[in-house]
Every structure is written in structure tokens, then in C-alpha cells.
Symmetry: C2
Subunit: 575 residues, 2 copies
């Protein structure tokens, strides 16, 4: 394609609120434009990259035996009411009424629709298992859309749904999608980890998130560089290192009350008493399913609400109000486990064996010091209800855990019978017995993948596209379009490469060379071929975008050279 | 692909409200399923056909130099307010509010969005002309969704927009899209006509509709089989045949009043007076831009409101109320041009020269007969404000015009500066002078094309796919899957054909042969290869769906045979 008329408005500056590198670069390189908050148009180059991702997704889904279909974005509210999600989903679900006052949702996900289709069309075990997928636009009215395509309100998603007779069948379908995801993200050139994730309120057993490692990521991944273990922070577990468990023995035979005026935070207390936070026991006062509960953690740890819910089988967790804390006979900021009546106490294993610890005294401006957990707190049940922190060890291999930020690219999830039960999707087995179909769901944020690829592939000059995704493989740049020799040679090279099946963008614009070189680095296709002053010798300059290597080649060898560089050469269909 | 697990639920019966053949067949063949009125899911085979159409559209758009992009479906209301269409579009435009109460439209078309993008990104004549397109989902809340994909509320459309400096540039862009459309619909195997259409309120000069000829079509096409003339009924013009102009001479020297009790319609009057409708002059009382107007037409013609508006430069036309008719000194059902005061009279040329005609007498239950238009109506201005009717002649070649029903597949339209002016999309010319960009817009109803193809390609047994669109080229059918020889031979043929690049659906279902043959005819792929009782002789039966021809072939010759039948053989990418 010739660049002269290509709609590819590159920018020097971008709005200050474009914080993420991918957001800035997609705006600067003219790949996308914002229409409204979290809503973007794809300009020609952005769409080409997006379509390349779609093609990879489609190929791997098909190879895994999934069948492509396409469902609407307008969903009658009845379906979402039947599943119970019309009320649960909240303002993130966009809603509207048609001209006759019938309510619709704009599909945020398609469990309701696909389950309804399968309910009507599949009745026998003979038609199972089946996995169906679509690549389709989703709508979620995010409270805070940001980072360009990373968190949008209208975005492209691949969503797949598997339908099985048995749990073991689901295991197979799940693994098949898991394997396909590994292939997809690998082909996209991404650095990623499949991490164990929490299955949340849906109550499935297995779930994995596929995370691209990137500083801009909003999720925290805990992983082990010595073994394969990886989980997101909600789900991750670790072992406390031995040295931290060795505490000094309490120098007193019982707790001692000390005056700590207006010292209410761990940080303040640590400074005031000149001790480490790991000698303080934090008491978190909660309202769990209507009952007050105090959760004890070591001062340097954070409560993990999801683990807490799972540990004690709780549904609703909220902070206890100051009034309710006073009803327990305590006061906010000075809560402690000693002397409290009528309240359930749950301890994180991080406080196990602490011998010279500090707790709140349950009266204003006082704490208790020299607390020995075993001696002073009586019988207590321990759970893992903390976020794993720096320094903890891998439970599988004992190596110290690492932490990284990640972008969620995809998600595989065992749904079980949640939707098939509520929407009535059943099958008859060999004996004519009717049972709910067992489901899995599998999502990939296709447009988010595009942004994640850029987050992992850029430098200060612009994007560095992986060969599998790049809008064009080769950028042919004519330095002076007024120069007839340069233009003629460029045309010859362009035709040769196109005929060989390469996708080539030819910068035939009448612009200053500096502008053209800068734009070329910004656009970031794998190979630039510059036709300049040595055109009369039939020599061009090559520059590889990723490593910056530059060298000359005679035109006679340019095709052979491209074949040596690119796997896609001669097979690519776009031009 | 193997059919055993394919989600392809065929039906014997379909809902009675599925009137159109394409609607019935797409339901019966398991291509689509309705989710809500005018809202459909595409099951795997339906999506494959739809994707084949998309691919053809994409290839021809790219070949015509148009650039693909992708715009969102959520449009901020501000854009539609700026163009004035937020109010004008009415209930067909679906609207919603986001969580912050901001109004959005679901894109029914994208002039506002594309013009805004071009306004921001293109400033110089150097970047013009440019044509941009997308293949994207549109939303229109039709008052009466029907005929399956022919008139839906959520549907797939290709919309293109051209941007030019000059009117002559627009002519070139327009012709380029026109030519691409001819290629697209030809490749889709459609019988179609490009017809002149009315440019409506937008006021463009040229506009053509591409119409698939089909009885279910909601549009009437007037065309000449002797020359290339074709127009839709709103735009079509014809010449009255000579013989109809020869009328008897009025036997009286002035009009005569006759009693016609309760005779108010042309039909009643014709019967009552025992005359042909072409001897009656119809008086249509209208309110045009606030003024009462009487339009005269011959009784066998219908008023064409669009022609009327253009003929007299009117904007708003409505029927005159009975009260207003009485204010003119007449009465509904008995209006006539003679003796009316203070009213503008417009005559269609069909009444020119009538010599023994009947008109209303402007009093209850009376008409005037023996009216001579020239003698009795005085000076009168004639216009063409009727729908062309059977028997009229082509104005280009004099041949009698033909009438057909058509489905609108696509539309090419010269917009001019309507949107660029209202939204401020201008360019600077060589002298730095700013001018509005001149636009064209070009739509194809991609999902409607799918339905139109079926409307033109079916018989009583099912669909008959054109090779370019068929979901699979070959249907391989194993009669008895329990028969090891049949299954082994089928597998061999399947592998051979797939390796050769053919798209094959293999019916490996354990069903009765009758069910399988019926389904195969219903699905309607071009070639069926049946592996049955002669499998042990390595002989299979071929059946060509379109002409029904059946013959045997040895397996050794099957590939050569397919190569002789299909152009796509060996090049198809789906399997």
C-alpha cells in the first residue's frame, strides 16, 4: 500500500492523560482515535494489527475443535433476569429500551445467550461435547475507563463456551482451551504467565488467568522463577520464611499496657514503640454475614478478603462501623484480641508463635505490649487469609516468590452448571435421564491483547511490532520522491516484494526525510528498506527495527534477504 | 469438518410468521436463530456464508483503493445533535445513557463519526481524495422487523465514505464504488440491477440502489429490457403510450352534473358510471408547506410524493383534513378542479388532453361528466408527479417498461457537503483557502445480501448455494457409519479433498440415510459425494445440487472431477 493517501495521522504530542505506553503510542502512530471515554475507532493500521490477532485466535480456536458463530449485542432483559445477573451486574451493564419499551442489555458477556441457544438446540448426549466461540464487540460501562484499549467500554473479545456431560469432560475441554491460549499468546509474541485465579462467587473449581507481564498492569502476579507456580495476588499462597518465625521471647510474664496517645496506625505504632511492623498484631474488625469478626494478621501483612471468604465460607464481608466496634467494648484504632467478648476471632497464620507482640488494648490511646500469642490468646484457629508478601517462599519448591504486574489477556473458567441450571439447559443421557449440561467459559480480550503487545514491544522511538502482528512487514521508504531514479527503483522493489507475498507500506510522501524516518521508527514495522542516494548504484539501506541493525544490500539480493528474515514471507495475504 | 458435533440443528417446520423463503430456509438449515424480534444469532454454517460475503466485499473495496477501518457502535449524542439527526432520525435510532447520564446513540450509520475523524485528521488537499470503509454492526429499531435477515434491527453492514476536493473528484470516487459494487454482487452470484434512486431530503445529485430481483422484495423496480434503463418506483419516469392519449371527444359543450350518491372512490365511480378509470380525473387534496394544493392525476395512476416535492420544490407534504377541504368550498370524496377558489392546482401530465373526463363536483354526491381538460380547466401547469404504471414506455428507447420487485442490497450516494458543513470538516487548497470536503457514502447490507442470495437460489428441497458463498463446497456423506469399509473410504476421500484445499463437511452422523440425504439437500452445498454400498468397489455417487445431476465416479478420479467442477478448488482456506 502506498502511504501518500493512507489515513495514518501521526502525532508528536498526545494528551497528558494517556498514561500507558501503549495508549500513547497507538495515538501517536495513528492506530486509534478516541470517540468518547473508553470508546475508540481503529484507523487502518490499527485495524490491520487487530485483524492479525483475530486471525491467530480464529486459527487456534478452530484447531482446538471450537466452532465459530456470532451472537448479537442486543440481549433481551428476560435472559439476564432469568440468570439473576440483571440485578447483580450493576451499572457496568449498559441498558436501553426499544421503541416498544422492551428492555435490552448491551452484551457484556454471552453466557445467557449461548446457554439459551444450546438449551433449545441440543438435547442429547450424542451432540456433546461441543465448544462454541465468537469474536464480537462487548460493552461494559467501566467506572473508570483508562489506558486506551486496556480498559475500554466498547471492546473486542473472543468468548468461547464449552458444553460437556461430565466433570471429566469439562476437564478435557478446559485443558484444550488452556493449550490453545498458550499457543495464541505465544504466536502473538507476548511474554505471559498462566496464573491460578480465584473463581469468585460463581464457585467454579478451576480458573486460570493469562497475564502479560507489564508494569502498567493492574493485577499483581505472584510467581516462582524456580518452578512453574504462578497465581494472582487474590489466590497466591506462600510460606513464611523460617527466620521471621524466630521471635524474641517475651520479657514479661503477662501483657503490659502502655500509653500510645493518638497512635492508631501500624506505621505510627511502629515508630512510636521503635519496633518492626512484624512485631505488631493488626486487628481488623469486620462484619461477616451479619456477625462481627476480628481478624488478626501480622502488622506487615494485608488481609485478603477472597481468601477469608473461602476459609470460613462467608458470602458478605464489610468493615465494622465505629458504633459496632464500641458495642464490642473496644474503640477504632485500638482494637485487640485480649479481653473482647462476644466476637469471633480468626487468626492468619502469620501471627502463629509470636512471643513479644503488640496488640490494641481496647481502650483509647492504649496498646498492650509483651504479648505472647500462645500464652495470652488462648486456643485460636489459624487460616491463610493474607496477601502473600515479598520474602515469602514458594509452597511447591521453597524458592523465594517473585512479584510482577500483569495485564489480564484471557481467562479460562470452569462454570459448572450455574447457567445451565438457572436457564434450564439439560441433556438426556443414554438412559433418557435429564441432567444439566456442564459448562466452561473462555475469554480473550482481543483489543486488549493489541495494547499488551505494544506494552511489551516499544522503545523511546516507537513501536517494535512482532512479525506475526505487524500491520505491514516491510516499510519501503523513498527519501526524495522528486528524484526519478529513487522513485523508479522504489517502484521496482515494491512490485517485487508484493508479488512475493510480502505486506509492504511504501512511504511515497513528499515530506522531509527526517519526518519520514521518525514516522517509520514510530510505526515500527520489522524491516525498513530505504531508497536513497545510492539508488543509482541499485543499493538500498536496510534497518531492522528490533535490534536497530543497519546495513546495505543490492536490490538484486533484497528478496533473498527478506526470505531469510521472515517466516511469513510469501505467505502473507495482506498487502 | 465432521458433522457429528457441528451445531447445525435442521428443522422440518418453522414458525408460521417466517414468510420469506430465505427466512424459512435459514431457520430450517440451522444457519440462524432468532434471539428477539429482528435480532439473530449466526450458527456456524450461517457465519461461514456471511464471512465469505465479507471477504468478497473486503477484497473489492481494497482493490478499489478504499481503506478499511473500524468505528464504534456507541456514538455520543453530541455528534448527532451537531448534524441535526438526533431529532430527525426518530425512534429508529436506538438511544441509551451511560452510568453518568451521558446520552449515546447506537450507530444506525456512521456519517457523523467518520466526518468527525476526517475533520480532525485531514486538513490539506494533499491527503485527498480518500475513501474509508468498515464492516460493522448497525442498529436500527425498525417499526416492523421482518423477513429474517432482510429487515433486522441488528445487522451487518459495509459502509464506505469518500472525501474529495471537487465535484468531479466525487464523480470519480462514486464511479469507483459503483464499479466495485457491480463486481461484488456479481461474485456473490446475484441477479441484480443498479437502479436510479431518489436522493431524498439530503439533496445529492446522483444516487443508485443495487437491487436483487426477488418477489419478496419490498421495493418496486421499473426497468427496460431493451436498454439499460432502471429506476426505483420513486424515481422512474415513463412516457404514456399514444393509444391512451386518443380519447373520445366530449359529446357535450360543457360539463354536466350527475348524481353519484355515496360514490367516493375511483373504483366505485368507474363501476357506477360504467367507464374506465382512465376517463376519471383524481383530485388529491394536500397540505404542502402550509398551503392547500389540489393535485390532478388520471384515475388509474398513483401520486408519487417524492416527484411532487421535487417538481415544486416542496419540503412537507401531508393530506388535507376534511375540515380544510370544506374551507376550500368542497367536500372529501367529491373534490374537483372546477369552481374551486383560492387553491393551487397542479396537474400530472397523464390528464393532458383528456376530452370526456369525470371530476368531482365539489358538492356531496355529485360529479361532473363530459369534462374537456383544455376547455374547462383553463391554463394549467403540467408535471410528472405520478408513479410509472404498467403500459408506459421507456423514455430512452420507447420499449414498454417492465416492473419487478427488488431487495435493496446496496446504495451509492453523493452526499455533497451536508455533513462536512454541519460538522466543520474542511480542507485547505493550494492557496490556503478553506473549503468543505465533498463527500459520498456507500452502503452494502452484508447480512441482507446473505438472505438475498438464498431468495434467488433455492428449490423445494432447500438452499442451492453459489460456489463463492457456500459454507462448504463439498458435502461428503457416509450412508452407514457402522460400515467399516464405508467409513474407511470416506476418511480417505475426506483427507484427500481437505489436503487439496477444498472445504468439506463430512456427514459422519449415525442417522437414517433418509434424514442425511434430506439434510444434505436442505444445506445445499454444490457437490455431494455419497459413500454407500459400492464402497467396496471404491465407487462413490456424486450429485450436483444445482441441476440435480447424479453419476458415479471411482475414488481415483474424484479429485480430478472436483478440479473440473470448481474454480475455488485448491485455493479455499476454510476446511
Amino acid at each position: 500500500m502506498r502511504q501518500q493517501r493512507l489515513l495514518n495521522p501521526t502525532l508528536r504530542d498526545v494528551p497528558g492523560d494517556a498514561e500507558a505506553a501503549s495508549h500513547r503510542l497507538m495515538l501517536r502512530a495513528g492506530l486509534i482515535r478516541q470517540l468518547s471515554s473508553g470508546i475508540y475507532s481503529y484507523l487502518p493500521l490499527g485495524l490491520k494489527a487487530l485483524q492479525n490477532i483475530q486471525q491467530i485466535v480464529r486459527e487456534e480456536m478452530d484447531a482446538a475443535g471450537a466452532q465459530e458463530m456470532l451472537m448479537p449485542a442486543l440481549h433481551p432483559s428476560e435472559l439476564w433476569k432469568a440468570s439473576g445477573r440483571w440485578d447483580v451486574y450493576g451499572p457496568e451493564l449498559m441498558r436501553l429500551e426499544d421503541r416498544n419499551g422492551r428492555e435490552f442489555a448491551l452484551g457484556a458477556t454471552h453466557e445467557e445467550v449461548i446457554t439459551t441457544i444450546v438449551k433449545v438446540e441440543i438435547h442429547s448426549y450424542k451432540k456433546l461435547p461441543v465448544t462454541l466461540y465468537q469474536i464480537q464487540t462487548k460493552y461494559r460501562d467501566e467506572r473508570r475507563p483508562r489506558f486506551g484499549l486496556l480498559r475500554g467500554r466498547e471492546f473486542l473479545m473472543k468468548d468461547a463456551y464449552s458444553f460437556d456431560r461430565t466433570e471429566s469432560g469439562l476437564d478435557v475441554s478446559y485443558q484444550s482451551m488452556y493449550d490453545a491460549y498458550v499457543k495464541i499468546f505465544t504466536r502473538c509474541g507476548l511474554q505471559f504467565r498462566a496464573v491460578e485465579a480465584d473463581s469468585g462467587a460463581i464457585g467454579g473449581t478451576d480458573t486460570h488467568e493469562f497475564m502479560a507481564l507489564a508494569d502498567v498492569g493492574e493485577d499483581t502476579i505472584v510467581h516462582c522463577i524456580a518452578c512453574q507456580y504462578a497465581a494472582n495476588i487474590e489466590k497466591a499462597i506462600g510460606t513464611l520464611p523460617e527466620q521471621r518465625k524466630t521471635d524474641t521471647i517475651s520479657p514479661a510474664s503477662q501483657p503490659v499496657k502502655v500509653h500510645t496517645p493518638q497512635v492508631t496506625s501500624i506505621k505510627q505504632l511502629s515508630q512510636f514503640l521503635q519496633i518492626d511492623a512484624n512485631q505488631i498484631i493488626k486487628s481488623v474488625a469486620l462484619h461477616i454475614d451479619g456477625t462481627p469478626v476480628i481478624v488478626l494478621l501480622r502488622g506487615d501483612y494485608e488481609l485478603n478478603e477472597i481468601k477469608l471468604k473461602q476459609a470460613i465460607g462467608a458470602a458478605q464481608v464489610s468493615m465494622l462501623s465505629e458504633d459496632d466496634i464500641e458495642k464490642l467494648g473496644s474503640i477504632a484504632g485500638f482494637i485487640g484480641p485480649i479481653g473482647l467478648q462476644n466476637v469471633r476471632i480468626i487468626a492468619d497464620s502469620s501471627i502463629m508463635g509470636l512471643k513479644d507482640a503488640v496488640v490494641g488494648a481496647n481502650e483509647p490511646d492504649f496498646h498492650l505490649v509483651h504479648v505472647d500469642v500462645e500464652r495470652d490468646l488462648g486456643p485460636i484457629s489459624y487460616h491463610d487469609v493474607r496477601n502473600v508478601a515479598q520474602g515469602e517462599l514458594c509452597t511447591h519448591c521453597g524458592h523465594e516468590l517473585s512479584f510482577a504486574k500483569g495485564i489480564e489477556l484471557g481467562h479460562v473458567f470452569k462454570l459448572g452448571t450455574k447457567y445451565s441450571s438457572s436457564l434450564g439447559a439439560t441433556f438426556s443421557d443414554e438412559n433418557g435421564v435429564s441432567e444439566p449440561i456442564i459448562m466452561g467459559c473462555y475469554g480473550i480480550g482481543v483489543s486488549r491483547v493489541l495494547a499488551a503487545i505494544i506494552e511489551q514491544n516499544y522503545d523511546e522511538r516507537g513501536i517494535i511490532w512482532p512479525e506475526s502482528i505487524t500491520p505491514f512487514t516491510i516499510h519501503l521508504l523513498t527519501v526524495h520522491v522528486q528524484d526519478e531514479i529513487q522513485m523508479k527503483l522504489s517502484e521496482e522493489i515494491y512490485t517485487t516484494l508484493i508479488r512475493a507475498g510480502y505486506s509492504v507500506l511504501w512511504d511515497d510522501r513528499d515530506e522531509r526525510p527526517g519526518v519520514k524516518f521518525n514516522d517509520s521508527d514510530l510505526l515500527g514495522f520489522p524491516l525498513r528498506i530505504t531508497v536513497g542516494k545510492k539508488a543509482n548504484e541499485r543499493v538500498v539501506e536496510c534497518k531492522e527495527r528490533r535490534d536497530g541493525s543497519q546495513y546495505e544490500r543490492s536490490v538484486e539480493h533484497i528478496l533473498t534477504h527478506c526470505h531469510s528474515l521472515f517466516q511469513t514471507g510469501g505467505r502473507s495475504s495482506h498487502e
